[in-house]
């Protein structure tokens, strides 16, 4: 069976080593936090200036001065720290984070990422921290469905949407398979409810 978004988040969480410093992108990657073991010592970074971010705030916990990068109110865990934007992006761009988990429109077999712009001519461009996150961790994981709503593959030989970063993704987690990408091309690690041969037929990318 293919994975539900929650099951997929659990699989990503399973693969994050204990004591890692991790940034979870806006949207589906945020769900990964719900599956991280409390004892794993994983520290969440939010690029608006905080380490050891806690879960979403509820009720009286809501503090307008304490939000995540999606502007959702969050909480603070013991051992947290606050810092300004240049220091926060220094952490990313300087390669200090262990893992970033991002969403994507497309990922190429070489690890190129397209996740900030659909290329639609009337769209208002907005990049936020996407390009910094793309190059901002020792490992960049992408979480996405393997096919879009029209059934087109999102793992592609070459991205056709505008790029967010070149050769920056190390692994793609999808509802149907976990696939390593990079200089050696795409290599399937695990499949869910589908065979490798079926994947090969549906993707334009050679799969090892």
């Amino acid at each position: 069976m293919s994975l539900t978004p929650d099951e997929l988040a659990a699989v990503v969480a399973r693969d994050i080593p204990p004591n890692s410093y991790v940034n979870l992108g806006i949207g589906q990657p945020t769900k990964v936090a719900d599956h991280l073991g409390a004892d794993a010592g994983i520290v969440l970074h939010t690029e608006n200036g905080m380490l050891n971010m806690g879960p979403a705030a509820t009720g009286d916990q809501i503090d307008p001065d304490l939000t995540n990068a999606g502007k959702v109110p969050v909480t603070e865990l013991p051992g947290a720290s606050y810092f300004h934007h240049a220091d926060s992006f220094l952490m990313m761009r300087g390669g200090h984070l262990d893992v970033c988990v991002l969403g994507a429109f497309q990922v190429s077999a070489a690890g190129d990422l397209a996740n900030w712009h659909t290329g639609a001519p009337d769209a208002i461009p907005a990049v936020g921290g996407a390009m910094d996150l793309a190059i901002g961790a020792k490992q960049v994981f992408v979480m996405m469905t393997l096919f879009d709503k029209k059934g087109r593959p999102k793992l592609v030989p070459q991205c056709t949407y505008p790029l967010t970063g070149l050769r920056c993704v190390s692994r793609v987690y999808t509802d149907l398979a976990i696939i390593d990408v990079g200089p050696d091309g795409a290599s399937v690690r695990e499949t869910f409810g589908v065979t490798l041969d079926e994947l090969r037929k549906r993707l334009d990318v050679p799969l090892a």
């Binding site: 608006n48 939000t67 502007k71 300004h84 934007h85 461009p125 990049v127 910094d132």
Partner: protein
């Protein structure tokens, strides 16, 4: 250093200024100073901020008042950025989209006297088009230039009478960087304390970067994400 009112704090901002505006969404947004700027009347402004306004308040109100020629930001498009969206789609405002980390680092460079820097973000993407690139030690970089402000409008938590500042939680965001990058830094705070009351080890923005401070009443702004 300590202004008696918001209007006094924002006096003298000139038409055509580049104004750095703190805040990430609503957290750290200097609402009172922006309202003061609207009353003050300066126009033809270039605004540098992470976003381009939400709803009808803060930056969105300044945009709506027709005072802004250009916005430099990382993320203009949001669920409630309808004021910006309409100005942009009708061609009445210019937009320069800058990756968030570049926005911060380019302002830091302005504050630090750096002439330009080779940056790893954006290589090979449309936002690097036409920019100088260089390979250094096997990695590709794009050359980025400082963003300097004539004025910075920021919000902090507490100030002392020398202009030393501390912030609160993630409302810190761009404030300390913008304070270094502007010719004149104007700060709204919730509290002004006597000099000597802030822990010298915990001052985030030293007063050398601050020109005017004004105390404002705490405001119950809506948390965007909670809507």
């Amino acid at each position: 250093m300590i202004a008696g009112s918001v209007d006094e704090a924002v006096a003298g901002i000139e038409d055509g200024s580049t104004v750095l505006v703190g805040g990430f969404g609503f957290a750290g947004m200097p609402f009172d100073l922006i309202d003061g700027l609207i009353r003050q009347g300066a126009t033809d402004l270039t605004i540098v901020s992470n976003n381009a306004g939400n709803g009808d308040v803060g930056l969105a109100a300044l945009l709506k008042a027709g005072r802004v020629r250009k916005v430099v930001c990382s993320f203009p498009r949001q669920a409630d950025s309808y004021v910006f969206d309409e100005l942009y789609r009708s061609g009445r405002i210019e937009l320069e989209v800058v990756p968030q980390g570049n926005l911060a680092e380019r302002m830091r460079a302005a504050g630090a006297g750096i002439g330009a820097f080779f940056c790893p973000t954006g290589v090979g993407t449309p936002l690097a088009e036409g920019k100088e690139t260089r390979t250094i030690d096997g990695r590709d970089y794009v050359l980025e230039y400082p963003i300097k402000g004539d004025v910075a409008l920021i919000s902090a938590h507490r100030a002392d009478r020398m202009g030393n500042l501390v912030y609160r939680k993630t409302a810190r965001n761009f404030g300390p960087v913008m304070a270094t990058a502007a010719t004149r830094t104007i700060v709204q705070v919730s509290e002004v304390v006597p000099t000597g009351d802030l822990d010298p080890e915990a001052v985030v923005t030293p007063g050398i970067f601050v020109d005017r401070v004004v105390r404002v009443e705490a405001r119950n702004y809506t948390v965007q994400g909670a809507r």
